[in-house]
């Protein structure tokens, strides 16, 4: 079976010399975001550039403390995020390095597994089904492979490659086995950018990411509009340049760029947390993505089952059992494309090396393989699915019943058949077809055990409302039997690939929607099923292990692979289950829910703050002809009202579905609309009250244009901070008293955090250095008490508004 391994390959000395000459495959294997990406995306995004520009102008205006605040306070969140992400990246890189696929080369006539970076030009590389081709080269020797070049060309048809044919990096060997000589390595390869894996092509944003991006863009537009107004006010009003820059900075604070940081942080911490569960995250958003899944497609072999195929029994037809064993032994001993099935036969039957005239490797699409021996006893032997071979090898009723019984017991059954004709096999991929007649020789029965905890895992997904679809190349009855053994309900709909093949689009879509078990499915059908389910509006996860799953994995919203799966499968996967830890998936699902809930809580506070400040800008402009906050006040509000609380949300968040809407913003409207409007009104009244006081205190000879806004702004920022802090127990009610918009959480941590932040804010308000830095006025204890009482009153008003569903009634829609 090693007849394709003719080349001797390079010697180790030659390999070292070539590497020294710069002919090594020294391409950085990117397993996560690069440092440059992390820094660019966290620091040099649009809104941060705006902040930096504002701080530069402030330095020019000699407002150094403002510039300091922008650079240090606002950037500190970014720096923390960058540090955490780099820490997470290092952890992930470490584990990815341990788990990344190796490549097999021939050096000095021996096969060696090496790291892809150790490949040098001229190396002879061994390819087997499921391997990803990592460098460009030319096929050498007698091997034959079918290559999926879709990642390069977009064409899904397999391309057959024999000696002298070129192979390219980024493509996948789907069938067969062969060797190729590396002719281009490193950055010289046609698609060296694909070296990091085919997953580089998959960048699917989760619905949450899409929504957050939309929110940020909308708020950016709002900020642009306000910047234009601020610019106009410079010419139409008596504002100084310093005032204008202050106003521009406050408007910049409306863009919740911190949300992106919160998401990135949540993804990073989740990825590291998942490592402890033997789940390797290859796509940053994969864990969160998992929580959106409503349909989970599983391959049977290797996913639901352990892929430890064992030969159970053989049933000879027209020959003795010994003869059948010998022929099967010869067959698997001479195949150049071994797989789990042939290995299971080989472990039971010993065969001889023979002279092969032609071979067709097994393919999931054809469901059979063939070898023609031209020595005695000569003939063409075919091993494949009984339903496929039975069309040209009629079986007696008793044999059909025997096969069916085994299918229904969840066993895997193959038919072994024969024809004397030596010329029936055409190795050209497009001309491959079964001979017109075959003589059945025997039935081979295999068993494949369900994975440990498969039943519990599937049950937990069903309980979470996720529809399961088991899609397999095996017989539908075998798959259905195993599905039932795994705990799926008895009344599952079963459909076969043969039935799907004759359905029109509408019937296909209906079958995809209503059926649970899909058997005898080709890789193309598997991919089409996943695609159809996605087009029906579903968020589809696909778990696979074999190269036949690659197409469907690429179509899925979320691709999950087993560690034991093929290298190609692992390369396209968003999540790799290390140690094939299928049972870790529910944990990952809960982790995804946790991330979403944490982001949801953060988003609620961001929305309230942003719209409250935006409304106040318009309101104070109309009512008091002034601007409500200074840049430092805005930063103070962002820090106490949103920044610090949301820093702990991703850590404290719990799993569980809290929203019935697909849109997170929509699911928060019942919370944010009443909170924003009432808070704005209360804050505006407080601002006006203190503005009247400031006007009353105007020194003689000064008019209203000379009013010192420090006191009203201090009162305004204080009431806003207090109200935001009081929102925390409403968001996570520790007792029934706070239950109005959100369900009871019994979690006191948020309330305690709010209390601590309240004390810290009071210290900022009281301690002169902080007060001076943040340009706050002195508030008497009566003022502080008054503001706290106003915030309490607002709490009761808001609770009554929420509980009475006032806005639902007024708007005539259910906001909850």
């Amino acid at each position: 079976m090693d007849n394709y391994l003719q080349p001797q390959g390079l010697t180790e000395e030659e390999a070292i010399k070539r590497r020294a000459e710069g002919l090594g495959n020294n391409v950085f294997l990117q397993t996560s975001r690069s440092y440059r990406q992390i820094i660019n995306e966290n620091i040099f995004n649009f809104i941060n550039i705006v902040f930096f520009a504002i701080s530069a102008v402030m330095i020019l205006l000699r407002r150094y403390s403002d510039a300091f605040l922008v650079v240090v306070i606002i950037s500190s969140g970014v720096i923390i995020a960058v540090c955490q992400e780099i820490w997470a990246k290092r952890k992930l890189d470490e584990i990815a390095l341990l788990n990344r696929p190796h490549t097999t080369v021939i050096r000095e006539g021996n096969k060696r597994d090496i790291d892809p970076t150790e490949i040098v030009q001229g190396d002879i590389i061994v390819l087997a089904a499921g391997d990803q081709i990592l460098v460009d080269g030319v096929v050498v020797g007698d091997g034959r492979i079918d290559v999926d070049e879709s990642l390069l060309t977009g064409e899904s048809d397999l391309i057959s490659k024999v000696a002298q044919d070129n192979v390219y990096s980024g493509t996948i060997c789907v069938n067969g086995a062969a060797c190729f000589e590396a002719t281009k390595v490193g950055t010289e390869t046609v698609a060296y950018k694909l070296m990091t894996g085919a997953r580089a092509f998959r960048h699917v944003y989760t619905p949450l990411q899409q929504e957050i991006n939309l929110i940020i863009r909308i708020l950016l537009l709002l900020a642009c509009y306000l910047w234009i107004l601020v610019g106009i006010s410079f010419t139409s009003r008596s504002y100084t340049l310093a005032d204008i820059v202050q106003h521009a900075a406050v408007v910049a604070g409306l863009v919740p760029s911190g949300l992106l940081i919160a998401i990135t942080l949540a993804y990073g911490t989740a990825a590291v947390r998942m490592l402890g569960q033997d789940v390797l995250i290859q796509q940053a958003n994969a864990v969160e993505s998992l929580s959106h899944v409503n349909i989970l497609c599983l391959d049977k072999t290797g996913t639901l089952t352990s892929n430890q195929i064992e030969l159970q029994k053989v049933f000879p037809i027209g020959i003795s059992e010994n003869e059948l064993r010998q022929k099967l032994g010869d067959y698997v001993a001479n195949t150049t494309a071994p797989n789990r099935t042939s290995e299971a036969i080989e472990s039971s039957f010993i065969g001889n090396k023979r002279s092969t005239k032609a071979e067709i490797p097994f393919s999931s699409a054809r469901k059979w393989s063939a070898i023609t021996f031209d020595d005695e006893p000569h003939g063409t032997f075919i091993l494949g699915a009984p339903e496929i071979l039975a069309t040209v090898a009629p079986l007696p009723e008793s044999i059909n019943n025997y096969i069916q019984e085994n299918f229904e017991r969840g066993l895997r059954v193959l038919l072994f058949a024969y024809t004397e004709n030596l010329d029936v096999i055409n190795e050209e991929p497009e001309k491959i077809a079964l001979p017109s007649t075959l003589t059945p020789l025997g039935v081979i029965v295999f068993s494949d055990k369900l994975r440990a905890q498969a039943s519990e895992t599937l049950h937990s997904f069903t309980k979470a409302g996720i529809d399961l679809k088991i899609i397999s190349g095996d017989n539908p009855d075998t798959v259905a039997a195993l599905a039932k053994q795994a705990g799926l309900r008895e009344d599952i709909n079963v459909v076969s690939g043969l039935e799907l093949a004759i359905m029109d689009d509408s019937q296909f879509a209906t079958a995809a929607k209503t059926s649970t078990v899909f058997g005898r499915i080709t890789p193309e059908q598997k991919a089409r099923l996943v695609q159809t389910l996605r087009l029906q509006g579903n968020y589809v996860a696909m778990i696979g292990d074999g190269v036949n799953d690659v197409l469907s994995l690429k179509q899925a919203s979320l691709a999950i692979s087993m560690e034991s799966g093929s290298k190609a499968t692992r390369s396209v996967a968003d999540i790799i289950l290390l140690k094939d830890s299928f049972a870790a998936l529910p944990f990952a699902f809960l982790e995804g829910q946790r991330i979403r809930n944490g982001i949801r809580d953060s988003l609620a506070l961001f929305i309230v703050r942003v719209f409250c400040v935006a409304l106040l800008i318009f309101s104070t402009g109309m009512v008091a002809n002034s601007f409500p906050l200074l840049n430092k006040h805005s930063a103070l509000l962002a820090m106490f009202g949103v920044g610090l609380p949301t820093a702990v949300f991703p850590i404290w968040a719990k799993p569980g579905e809290t929203t019935k809407h697909s849109s997170m913003v929509r699911s928060l409207m019942h919370f944010t609309i009443p909170a924003t409007l009432t808070m704005t009104l209360v804050a505006l009244l407080v601002f006006l009250l203190y503005l009247v006081r400031a006007v009353l205190d105007l020194p003689p000879g000064q008019n209203i244009n000379d009013v010192d806004y420090t006191l009203p702004r201090t009162a305004l920022v204080s009431i806003l901070v207090l109200c935001h802090l009081f929102l925390l127990p409403f968001l996570k009610p520790p007792t029934r008293l706070w239950v109005a918009a959100e369900p009871l959480s019994n979690d006191w941590r948020y309330t305690i955090a709010a209390s601590i932040l309240f004390v810290v804010y009071m210290l900022v308000l009281t301690l002169p250095p902080f007060r001076r830095f943040f340009e706050l006025a002195v508030l008497s204890w009566q003022d502080c008490l008054f503001l706290v009482l106003v915030a309490f009153e607002w709490c009761f008003i808001l609770r009554a508004v929420w509980r009475s569903k006032f806005f639902n009634r007024f708007l005539g829609v259910d906001l909850s």
Partner: protein
């Protein structure tokens, strides 16, 4: 896969007593705020030094026997001050104000001025009135010269008094001056006070 939190927010009805408490709380806070503003306003108005400072921000003046501030209001663009002599009851009362014309319709302004003057200058009942052109701040302006009686409170006997009423409107701002003197030499005193007036603006 344990669901760790319920997604159901129970419906809690809002009771009438709860709404009443909220209303009472809101009224209490609004009341407190209004009382606070009123107290602040009164404190400011009745601070003598502040009243004198407001008056001096409008005009320089001399009151025979010395001056003391009685009331002053500086609310936005509106400035009002009342200054009296140190005698009791005062024999000289000076009222000065500055209000933007566009923001203060005549009726409101007259009412506020009259009210403040009545409170702090006493009730003046004119018996005759004439217009005289006098020089103020380098310009000749019409002055309403009124003879009459000044009543400080209902029990007290009215005393003869003279009042000068001056109104200067310029650049959308109206400045009013009212000088009342009583007792002996009332005419001399009012002339002295009028002559001592120096504008803190370009008339």
């Amino acid at each position: 896969m344990k669901e760790e939190s319920t997604n159901v927010t129970p419906d809690y009805p809002v009771r009438i007593w709860e709404l009443l408490l909220i209303l009472l709380g809101a009224l209490g806070l609004v009341g407190t705020a209004l009382v606070g503003v009123a107290t602040k306003t009164l404190t400011n108005v009745l601070t003598p030094a502040r009243a004198e400072a407001i008056a001096q921000s409008l005009f320089d003046y001399q009151i025979p026997g010395g001056a003391k501030g009685v009331a002053g209001l500086n609310f936005g663009a509106k400035n009002i001050a009342i200054i009296t002599s140190k005698t009791s009851p005062p024999d000289v009362t000076l009222f000065v104000s500055k209000v933007p014309v566009v923001q203060s319709p005549d009726e409101d302004r007259v009412n506020l001025d009259d009210t403040l003057q009545e409170i702090f200058q006493g009730d003046f009942i004119p018996t005759d009135s004439k217009i005289e052109n006098k020089l103020l701040c380098g310009k000749t302006i019409p002055v309403s010269v009124q003879n009459g009686k000044q009543i400080f409170d209902e029990q007290a006997t009215p005393v003869p008094a003279i009042r000068y009423l001056i109104k200067i409107t310029d650049n959308g701002v109206e400045r009013n001056v009212s000088i009342i003197t009583n007792g002996e030499n009332a005419q001399d005193k009012i002339e002295k006070v009028f002559d001592s007036l120096r504008c803190r603006f370009e008339p």
